[in-house]
């Protein structure tokens, strides 16, 4: 079992760099759902050459950035229950319609965090198996979105690989992830394992393999 002393880890891309790589891969006119937490950063890196429409599963299509302090409306929040804004061209709908956008295959991309991703694209990101189980909309997103991107650190805080042969935590979905953006690499899920699309400048493929519990190839 791989367990790296965290002091020996090579520092990878910071979260802003990862977010900008994802933003760069979202095509013009995509409908996108960004998960709560780190994935929310992606919206800050969308280039001027494209327009992306953000969906928030609590019934908001065309979500804009956080409001100024004096413009906060507690009836206008995102899936993380934080105040947001609505952009021109946006709309509201009820929860079943909002999840029809997800479950009906209308959302082009979702970007989610992860606890574990298996070599076959299984994702675990909703339960550590301890405490109160709470799933939110994660299972709907992975089952319904056309492309499921994962944004994650390559290793856990205590130095264990998040990219694994088989998930040990309760699954969010089986065979659902298409691409992983970690601090060490961008990888696609393929029949032959994790395919490296882009490798961090500071690390070698051998190093990447040593911190990944599953076949890596270029």
């Amino acid at each position: 079992m791989i367990n790296i002393n965290t002091k020996d880890l090579i520092k990878g891309w910071d979260r802003n760099t990862i977010a900008s790589k994802i933003a760069n891969d979202l095509p013009h006119s995509s409908y996108v759902n960004l998960g709560i937490g780190m994935p929310e950063l992606v919206s800050q890196y969308i280039k001027e050459d494209r327009e992306i429409i953000y969906h928030s599963e609590n019934g908001l299509l065309g979500m804009g950035p956080s409001p100024n302090e004096n413009e906060i409306d507690l009836d206008l929040i995102n899936a993380g229950k934080k105040p947001v804004t609505i952009l021109p061209g946006g709309s509201f709908c009820h929860h079943a319609d909002s999840f029809s956008m997800i479950r009906g295959g209308h959302i082009d991309y979702c970007v989610l965090g992860a606890m574990e991703i298996s070599v076959t694209g299984d994702l675990a990101n909703w339960s550590t198996g301890k405490g109160i189980p709470a799933v939110g909309g994660a299972m709907d997103l992975v089952a319904g979105a056309k492309n499921v991107f994962v944004m994650t650190q390559h290793l856990t805080k205590d130095g264990k690989p998040k990219l694994v042969q088989k998930c040990t935590l309760p699954l969010t979905g089986a065979g659902v992830v298409s691409r992983i953006y970690s601090d060490y690499a961008v990888l696609d899920i393929t029949d032959d394992g994790f395919k490296v699309i882009q490798l961090n400048e500071d690390i070698t493929i051998e190093y990447l393999q040593s911190v990944t519990d599953g076949n890596i190839y270029q």
């Binding site: 229950k81 509201f92 299972m139 709907d140 319904g144």
Partner: protein, 237 residues
């Protein structure tokens, strides 16, 4: 005689609610949460409730307060963990409240199905996860789906922005969330509404919940704002 669904006070609108009832509670976090109706239920002392909602309450206000008063035996929700949640967590850790976790979209669709006379449906959400255990599976076009059943309730507690005496409702922004589908899925929908207008003052094109889905209304002009109430240390009762 004219149809008039507007009740004069909290006692009247809650008069039918009974011990052991299943109640859908609208809202996503605090947006659209019918806090005053829930406080009315605390005053009434109704017990052994099953609550269907997205969340399990914040602080000791609204749903959080109702749970804290031990009036709820079971919560069916998608996300019972929240930064400001207190009472559900306390009872859950002592195994004194039951929890059924449902993926958010499946929760919404089960509610919508109940309101539309659909007893069950197949969905890809949850396939291959612990939440699929015990559920019937079926393959359509080579892909696996699980059977989910409709979710009904005796009552829906709902918060709306505007109504007329027929119960034609509009909502405010993302405070809409589960409220319209819960009105459809409950035997009786009890709605607290900020503004009551004359029937000709709501544009029929703007009605989100048609009055057929609403049984009773109460005018709450200045509802409690949960965030502020919690910051001020409010507890109910």
């Amino acid at each position: 005689m004219q149809i008039n669904k507007i009740k004069k006070d909290m006692t009247e609108i809650l008069s039918d609610v009974f011990d052991g009832a299943t109640i859908m509670v609208g809202g996503f976090g605090e947006a659209g949460s019918p806090i005053e109706l829930l406080h009315g239920l605390i005053d009434k002392g109704t017990k052994d409730l099953t609550i269907i909602a997205n969340n399990s309450g914040n602080g000791r206000v609204g749903l959080g307060a109702l749970i804290g008063q031990r009036q709820v035996k079971k919560v069916i929700c998608s996300f019972a963990r929240s930064a400001k949640g207190v009472t559900f967590q306390e009872l859950y850790n002592k195994c004194e409240i039951e929890l059924e976790v449902v993926p958010q979209g499946t929760l919404a669709e089960r509610i919508r199905a109940a309101g539309s006379g659909i007893p069950g449906f197949y969905t890809a959400t949850g396939v291959g996860t612990p939440l699929a255990e015990g559920k019937e599976e079926k393959i359509f076009n080579g892909k696996k789906y699980i059977l989910e059943e409709a979710l009904k309730a005796d009552f829906a507690f709902v918060k709306a922005e505007t109504s007329d005496r027929y119960g034609n409702l509009t909502y405010n922004k993302t405070a809409r969330n589960f409220n319209p589908i819960m009105c459809m899925a409950a035997d009786k929908s009890l709605v607290q509404v900020k503004n009551i207008l004359e029937p000709n003052e709501i544009n029929p094109e703007h009605v989100i919940t048609p009055g057929i889905f609403v049984q009773s209304l109460i005018n709450i002009e200045n509802p409690i704002i949960e965030t502020n109430a919690i910051e001020e240390g409010m507890t109910y009762p």
